[in-house]
């Protein structure tokens, strides 16, 4: 049997391919949006995975430093460490910094940690150049996304910091590159005011000498202890909020990136709807262009099923080609985006399913036109 869809597509191949490319670019954007969402989730988990700790002790009645301001005393780490179930505990700080570049400032997320401590937040697998921090002051490890090189000097606050290490793939939940500094430097940057501010505060009678604050205490527990039970016990008598790693993950993914992911999800749904409408309109136009031929086919006796098969096959081919072009397009441009875009096979398959269903829906409008086509329209006079 003659394959009508194939012959029709071959007859207008250039036009068909350009149309598929156009729809494909739209589907490529859908894939990118999905990739941005995956990237956000992945970014949010980088820090948690690198720290690889069991418990987070943060300021009471707060969700912790990833969601809101949290301050605890540094020496709380000793209290935590004294608990039987705790294996290791360390103080840690998180803060947003602006690193000066030649022509602009670059937003980064800085982690301050005790370089002599038991928990090192730098994942050595991500360290691509240089070393971890070895001195208490004025050393910094930066992400390769900052574009700094080893031995570069960066002015932060009142001092210059030397780049001693470069990491790859280290980003915060907001997509900002991570940098690592010593706890002492971090405390100075976060809690020490300028001389003028100190002078004004003193004039106002405010004396704040305590810079030994941190944002959280992180801890690991000994084997055979139940993390949830330990967390509940600590919360009872420490008067702090204590989160397990799983809870902290929820805080990051649900409380921090949830709105962004909903927004992206909504955009994705709208784009899929637009793509469906565009495919439907293209198929409708293609069907309209063939109405004379369709009337003739009906008049000479071709069954509707043969003509409908042609329309549905053309729609599915358009959807399939657009999907392939969309994948090519998204893979060509994904690394040009400033944020991490993670293209995953499961998302591509999901989109494939959506495109097939959308194409079938889109073909209905053309099929309806075929069913209603008047065979007498083929005859004049």
């Amino acid at each position: 049997m003659i394959h009508l869809a194939k012959e029709d597509i071959r007859h207008t191949l250039g036009k068909f391919l350009v149309t598929a490319m156009g729809v494909g670019m739209l589907l490529g954007i859908v894939l990118i949006m999905m990739g941005v969402y995956r990237g956000m989730i992945s970014d949010a988990e980088v820090l948690l995975d690198d720290l690889n700790v069991d418990l987070w002790v943060v300021q009471g009645n707060t969700l912790g430093p990833f969601a809101e301001s949290s301050r605890v005393h540094e020496d709380l780490k000793y209290t935590v460490k004294s608990i039987t179930a705790i294996d290791k505990s360390e103080a840690i700080t998180f803060q947003n910094l602006q690193l000066p570049l030649a022509d602009r400032k670059l937003a980064v997320f800085a982690i301050g940690y005790d370089i002599y401590g038991e928990i090192n937040p730098i994942n050595l697998d991500r360290l691509v150049e240089g070393r971890v921090l070895e001195n208490d002051h004025y050393e910094i490890v930066v992400s390769d996304k900052t574009s700094y090189k080893l031995d570069d000097k960066i002015k932060l606050g009142r001092n210059f910091y030397k780049v001693v290490g470069i990491t790859h793939g280290t980003v915060a939940s907001g997509g900002d590159p991570l940098v690592y500094i010593s706890l002492k430097d971090a405390q100075e940057l976060q809690f020490t005011y300028t001389n003028k501010r100190i002078q004004i505060d003193r004039a106002r009678g405010i004396i704040n000498k305590d810079s030994h604050l941190v944002n959280a205490i992180i801890a690991t527990i000994k084997p055979a202890y139940n993390i949830d039970e330990v967390a509940q016990d600590m919360e009872k008598w420490l008067h702090k909020s204590v989160y397990t790693r799983a809870e902290q993950k929820v805080v990051l993914t649900r409380n921090v990136v949830e709105k962004a992911s909903k927004q992206i999800g909504l955009f994705t749904v709208i784009l899929v709807a637009v793509a469906t409408i565009i495919i439907a309109l293209i198929i409708y136009t293609m069907t309209l262009e063939k109405m004379k031929e369709i009337s003739i086919m009906k008049l000479i006796g071709l069954p509707n099923s043969t003509i409908i098969k042609m329309i549905v096959e053309e729609t599915l081919t358009l959807g399939l080609l657009a999907f392939i072009f969309g994948n090519i397009f998204s893979h060509l441009i994904y690394d040009k985006f400033p944020k991490n875009v993670l293209l995953e096979i499961r998302d591509a398959w999901l989109l494939f399913g959506i495109v097939i269903v959308a194409s079938i829906f889109a073909s209905f409008i053309g099929v309806k036109k075929v069913i209603n086509a008047d065979p007498t329209a083929a005859i004049g006079g």
Binding site: E7, H11, I300
Partner: protein, 229 residues
């Protein structure tokens, strides 16, 4: 009932609209057309030629009356089959003012499309198509697209297409309207030859009086009914 009968129409009526908009188009038409006859159908514009052609072609539904195609009664105040399209596919060939070939199919596919939809095997339908293309002296064009053929060649392909399903009847709606005098004469002579050689009844709507001399009968719609002149 004669074995030679291709079309028989009894008391056929067709009207459109109702009330003030009522238009009686065909009233109480009775006629018979035999196999092997080329019959011209003439009438002024708007008199109902195409409507009559469409009723004979099982496309337009008459209001009342009886239609036989060959020996089969297909209409008696209603269609006697649900699938009028099947009747068209199996018994009727159509030729139009323009060739109306499917532009995205090559010539041989244009010819084999209908028989293949009827379940005829690919090889068989292609053999029949090649015989017809040979018959119409355009065998070398079987792989060409319609856009690559002249108007006359395309019209010959269109006639060949009408013959592909071995029809008992060919309904031709002004097949020479788009052709010059010489080509028109050739097409009508060809139809006459087909009618005799293929033993098929051809009803041809025409406005061109010069073509009437080649026809066996001239059917005219006059005062809303059909008369032979």
């Amino acid at each position: 009932m004669s074995n030679n009968q291709a079309i028989k129409v009894e008391n056929l009526n067709k009207a459109f609209g109702s009330g003030d908009a009522f238009v009686d188009v065909i009233h109480d038409a009775n006629f018979t057309i035999n196999k092997g006859e080329l019959v011209a159908l003439i009438a002024p514009s708007g008199a109902g030629k195409t409507t009559l052609l469409m009723m004979l072609g099982c496309v337009d539904k008459p209001n009342s009356g009886t239609i036989y195609l060959g020996d089969e009664k297909v209409f008696q105040d209603k269609w006697l089959t649900k699938e009028t399209r099947k009747i068209r596919r199996e018994k009727i060939g159509f030729i139009f003012q323009a060739h109306y070939l499917i532009p995205f199919l090559n010539i041989i596919d244009n010819l084999t499309l209908l028989p293949q939809a009827n379940g005829v095997k690919d090889r068989e339908s292609k053999q029949k198509a090649r015989e017809l293309l040979e018959y119409f002296d355009i065998a070398e064009k079987e792989n060409a697209m319609p856009s690559q053929l002249s108007g006359g060649q395309n019209q010959r392909v269109a006639i060949a297409r009408a013959l592909m399903n071995n029809p008992e009847i060919i309904l031709a709606d002004e097949p020479t309207a788009a052709l010059d005098m010489d080509r028109s004469t050739n097409v009508v002579k060809m139809l006459k030859k087909i009618a005799i050689e293929q033993d098929v009844a051809i009803v041809m709507v025409t406005h061109d009086d010069r073509m009437l001399e080649y026809c066996d009968k001239i059917m005219k719609i006059e005062n809303k009914t059909v008369v032979f002149i």
